[in-house]
């Protein structure tokens, strides 16, 4: 059997580099756990009934929670309606127009959220005169969510096996019926996953809301315009810079609530995907 010089060096390189990849992977996970740790640890002192039942003016975060949910719900209604049908169009029909729409979806994903916010400010708050309002914020969030929901709906529908659709067409069903009764049902987990991701993203947004919803220390009244809304991410951003201990607690508890929401949505999405692949 031959021997070879330099093999030891090659093997040492091999072991070292591969060990390095392990080290780097572990290192990237340290901040992840650290973030979770500091949020949990620093919010513990602030977790009490008052925090969740009072408003920000009275040492609570209730208006933040309600406001966030309100804005996300409002924008989801619009974004899901637009995104779902857009995704249906992209998956069922081809041609130049569809490619154009797809292109714009990709471009839209890349627009910085602050730019969307400034756009919302110029057009809805100033030009249309709505002032800081839930509707302006909801449209801004819709713009951010829309490309995701559109594309995930498209991908999910594309995965529907052709045989199933053809079975429906062969029975004389129209495209609309096939899509609504067959394809959507089949693709539902994938579509819902996309929606959950979109919701998760919009829950965590701040920049587009700063100048569309501004902030409000009280529960949102249901007027869609002329009335600002408070939300969790503002609390985190603004209150951490206040010198008061209680303000910090409000910021941390808001972070905790936010991360729990995001975690649940993410787990929900993964669970759905796992179920989808099984079917």
């Amino acid at each position: 059997m031959k021997t070879e010089e330099g093999v030891f060096a090659r093997k040492t390189w091999d072991k070292s580099v591969r060990a390095l990849t392990l080290v780097v992977t572990v290192m990237i996970l340290i901040p992840l756990f650290d973030i979770i740790y500091i949020v949990v640890v620093n919010s513990l002192p602030g977790i009490n009934l008052d925090m969740f039942t009072h408003l920000t003016v009275t040492d609570g975060i209730l208006n933040g929670i309600v406001g966030s949910l309100f804005l996300v719900a409002l924008s989801s209604v619009i974004a899901v309606f637009l995104g779902l049908f857009s995704g249906v169009y992209l998956s069922e029909f081809g041609g130049r127009y569809a490619s154009v729409v797809r292109f714009f979806a990709d471009v839209l994903t890349g627009v910085p959220s602050i730019v969307v916010g400034y756009f919302g400010y110029i057009v809805f708050v100033l030009y249309l005169g709505w002032g800081f309002s839930a509707l302006a914020a909801a449209i801004a969030l819709t713009i951010i969510m829309l490309p995701y929901i559109t594309r995930t709906t498209e991908f999910a529908l594309r995965k529907v096996p052709a045989e199933i659709k053809e079975g429906s067409y062969a029975l004389g069903a129209s495209k609309a019926t096939t899509v609504s009764k067959i394809s959507l049902r089949y693709a539902a987990p994938g579509i819902i996953t996309g929606i959950l991701i979109g919701v998760s993203i919009s829950l965590g947004e701040t920049a587009p809301l700063i100048y569309t919803a501004y902030f409000y220390n009280y529960l949102p009244n249901l007027a869609l315009i002329h009335s600002p809304v408070g939300y969790l991410t503002w609390i985190i951003w603004a209150f951490i810079n206040e010198p008061l201990v209680l303000a910090h607690q409000q910021a941390f508890v808001s972070s905790l609530v936010l991360m729990i929401f995001v975690l649940c949505l993410g787990l929900g999405a993964r669970f759905l995907v796992a179920r989808w692949w099984k079917s």
Partner: protein, 335 residues
């Protein structure tokens, strides 16, 4: 793109029309953003001219003045001088630092999760890394303030100074807020995006090529370096562009740890910075005080520049990454 071979009856045509109209919302929104921001910034473009890109100062002018000056038909306060260079520098430098850290890190993570880790551990590991992508940017900012900033001041800065201090860029004292801190936080936010895209590409490396290299006596790393990495070169480039696009537009985290600088270029790695994105937030309140609204128009001009720069990065990414960039973001939700 072949059309579906389905019968097109009257109902189908109506269906197609209805969904097509709804799908128009995407280009409509996109073009609306472009048009309105451009239109709103037009006065500022006229007033500021090319000096916008060379000026480092953001000066609303004499707020107490009763009269206004006019340039190119646009009114502004006397002494008004809007320059975006400081912001551009902050944006570009922080994103560059972020990429310098994130790209090798992402490649290492992608290699580990696609080639090295035991199979049973891969899925959970990938899920964990993707979790980093799901954390809202304000919370990154929060962590930055509470953990990273003190760390930078107490440990990292003195450490770096002792090794690299002879280079002026690395020397200096710091409050902990600044360029490097921003770069690190951005790197954390951008790494999951790059690594998941690259990992998917690594996983697609044809097995027979890998086996061929190993059968010739390559060590595993040699095989990874000579077969797996070259195979995914374009994807790595594209994913990096994606990460760049994301870093350029990031607002809250950099706002919270960047320190804030409107009127001076960063001089070293610890200098406080503002980016175009953070400036739109911080300068808006003061912009309200300008009766000519020129400050507001100029902020729109900043938004326009930011948008165009981000667009360039994302278009570059689109060339390199197959499936389009939305897919890259979306794939973190799919198994």
């Amino acid at each position: 793109m072949r059309k579906q071979r389905a019968p097109e009856g009257r109902g189908d045509r109506a269906f197609r029309l209805a969904t097509a109209i709804i799908a128009a919302s995407l280009p409509v929104f996109m073009i609306a953003i472009l048009v309105f921001i451009f239109q709103y910034s037009l006065p500022a473009i006229k007033f500021n001219g090319l000096g916008f890109f060379t000026g480092t100062i953001w000066n609303l002018g004499n707020l107490n003045s009763v009269s206004t000056i006019t340039k190119n038909g646009v009114q502004g306060l006397p002494g008004a001088d809007f320059g975006v260079l400081t912001l551009l520098a902050g944006t570009v430098l922080s994103s560059t630092i972020a990429l310098v850290i994130a790209i090798p890190t992402s490649i290492a993570i992608a290699l580990f999760t696609s080639e090295e880790a035991p199979r049973s551990v891969r899925e959970p590991l990938v899920a964990l890394v993707d979790l980093l992508a799901g954390i809202p940017s304000v919370i990154y900012g929060l962590w930055g303030i509470i953990v990273l900033v003190p760390l930078m001041q107490a440990t990292v800065a003195p450490g770096l100074a002792s090794i690299f201090g002879f280079i002026p860029f690395f020397g200096g004292r710091t409050s902990g807020y600044g360029l490097l801190t921003s770069g690190i936080v951005l790197a954390l936010m951008v790494t999951p995006i790059i690594s998941s895209t690259v990992r998917e590409s690594f996983a697609k490396t044809p097995t027979d090529l890998k086996e061929g290299a190993l059968a010739l006596g390559c060590t595993k790393w040699e095989m990874e370096r000579r077969i797996v990495l070259p195979f995914s070169m374009t994807t790595i480039a594209g994913a990096s562009m994606l990460g760049l696009g994301r870093a350029l537009g990031e607002t809250m985290a950099v706002l919270m740890v960047g320190g804030g600088a409107q009127n001076g270029l960063p001089t070293n790695i610890y200098s406080p910075i503002s980016t175009m994105a953070t400036a739109i937030v911080t300068l808006l309140d003061s912009a309200f005080t300008d009766p000519t609204n020129l400050a507001l128009y100029s902020l729109a001009e900043v938004a326009l520049v930011l948008f165009l720069v981000t667009l360039a990065a994302n278009m570059a990414a689109r060339i390199f990454v197959s499936g389009g960039i939305t897919k890259a973001f979306v794939s973190r939700g799919e198994a």
